[in-house]
Symmetry: C2
Amino acid sequence: MALKKKPVTGMRDILPGEMEIRNFVMNQIKETYKGFGFSQIETPCVEHIENLTSKQGGDNEKLIFKILKRGEKLNLETAQDEKDLVDSGLRYDLTVPLARYYSSNLSQLPSPFKALQMGSVWRADRPQKGRFRQFTQCDIDILGDASSMAEIELILATTTALGKICPNNAFTVRINDRGILRGMALHCGFPEESLDQVFIILDKMDKIGSDGVKAELLESGYGEQGVDQYLELMTEIKKDAEGVRQLGQILEQVLPKEVSENLAFIMDTVTTVAETDFQLSFDPTLVRGMSYYTGTIFEVSMEGFGGSVAGGGRYDKMIGKFTGVDTPACGFSIGFERIVTILLDRGECVKSETIKKAYLLEKGLDSDRLCEIMKQAMAERKSGVQVLVSQMNKNKKFQKEQLGKEGYTEFVEFYRDALKGN
Amino acid sequence: MALKKKPVTGMRDILPGEMEIRNFVMNQIKETYKGFGFSQIETPCVEHIENLTSKQGGDNEKLIFKILKRGEKLNLETAQDEKDLVDSGLRYDLTVPLARYYSSNLSQLPSPFKALQMGSVWRADRPQKGRFRQFTQCDIDILGDASSMAEIELILATTTALGKICPNNAFTVRINDRGILRGMALHCGFPEESLDQVFIILDKMDKIGSDGVKAELLESGYGEQGVDQYLELMTEIKKDAEGVRQLGQILEQVLPKEVSENLAFIMDTVTTVAETDFQLSFDPTLVRGMSYYTGTIFEVSMEGFGGSVAGGGRYDKMIGKFTGVDTPACGFSIGFERIVTILLDRGECVKSETIKKAYLLEKGLDSDRLCEIMKQAMAERKSGVQVLVSQMNKNKKFQKEQLGKEGYTEFVEFYRDALKGN
């Protein structure tokens, strides 16, 4: 019986060309973070349904692929609703599994624990261009380190990795702190209870600009004086560590000095130590939507990539909510699929250094000849050349074109009789 | 709310130490097959339920993790049975997805197509020691090559990969051909319709030995003369290419000469060309259970591994059953989890060449000092050393012990004031 040929709705097959780019990006990430002492870990793709629906996943909880109970546990007759039918689901992110992993394996993990995860996640989103129901996430987290060393190491490692993946793209790390975000708003007279709304509007800065933000804030009923002061402060403050320290002075009444001092210290250290070339700048408009961030937040954007390629921050309260034990935590998430898509679209960033050579063999070569040819192939492989040995097809031109698409740039043809060509 | 801490039944978290071994094995496999011109591919973990239940998967079809329909498509009221509730499931092997992938993407793939797949598969087996419900399979296949080049390349590549993974373990490739298997049985008087049963008994040779096989064959009612002739032939025939050619002469009446000639040719070529040291031997008792094999079959066993670490063969009829177009195919499956488990148990085979160094920093180092230390770390990382920078914990001894378990062998301690120790 014939198969359904297409992948299931919203998922996709990965062709060899893309696979090479994915492997390249993955390897750079793995090698870089390994150099910084991060340990790679893996959790099952299948997670308890209770963990996936514990209200930590926000809207993603509506998008779970749920897995049917099996055997005696499945009773269709008595099942009242969905809950009675399922016991697990596919993970929709790597954060819930990380929290579970950490609490389950704590005694076997070093403290602080520096974790790298790369793995598939699934969301039953409406299918749309460039957005798939199975995709790879890449999360890097330091659990159990309350000091700014966590931020510094994360920024250094992540910029080093991105620098290796795209050595020709200038990039910028924008950084802020939730405390400063709050402090600035309070300083300009926004009431405590309005902050969530103010930040939702501020978060649109990228899209609607300063005038748009102003208009929306006024529309929401905030006084023009405060709004103007707020936006001016953001514009006027210098975007380096010095600026952050000055801001600390200005916000003295509403924000403990340590917060600005801490951010300035992170910026100074990263700037002094980094070997990759990038711009680090304080961004008082940086909000990052996720409500679980508690301190530093950061985002990396790359020239020509439109939007961010990585982002993260400190979330000291989340792991504890899951595990019952308060655990300081700070992490980065790299936009793996985004980076792969852009590299693919450009077709330039990844240059394989391996020579790819195809040996095309006419049919009917005698045994000695064949052995000789294959020995030659083995020797070339040993020296690092990628050698494909293949029967020569009838349509040799088409065969070479196809292999060209796979990156083969050298063809060696072997014939039974006198050499017919090359 | 607290999470369920343990992974779902039968699945497991992978700790950093094991992850390093898994990555090592994966990288060796990827690099080796890449050198031989194999392309890595990936298919979604979720597959159409129709494809998973098309009767190609044998008993595995009973072990599918099925995925609930979503949204309007799920109607609990009108659902009569399981089939009405699910539209997909987790793949239980990589063969069904490969067949689907090949037929769906044929026009974009070179011919022959040399594919490497490494990925998770899921089976709702009863949980037992060393057997998990999510595990990694590693399949290598050549599709569209009817010639013995496919077998030769597969054996060369696979032995090269295994030689790199376990350079100190002697291993043996045993090889046979389904045609020879049939021919020998027919030659000794077993009737055509009995062959399946005969092979099931013969397949137990490893476990019950020649006497056991004889006893079972007699028990099943086969004549003693034929059984004796059969077992003697197996014992007496030489286990090299020469022996295969002689066997070809003996089986002349029941087996076309090409079959033995082909097998002998594969053996000769592999022996001449291989650079890895292994034993290649003809094994007339090799059956390999899977009924879909049509020609050459092979199995690799490694000293001290007990049982096979890889196996495969030619299956020229299967892809066509799925896709409707006959496609010659030959493949290897490497026992990835098996190899990882044994490497883990021994704790010897994988020696990381990377120096792992931990910098332990006393709290309160001043900014300049910290920058200096971190610059030093960056420089060491650049030269290939793995450097973990961490706050010094109160219980320094325990911290170092933990890091020692992660493979850290050098510790550098940094103090605020005069050096207290090293």
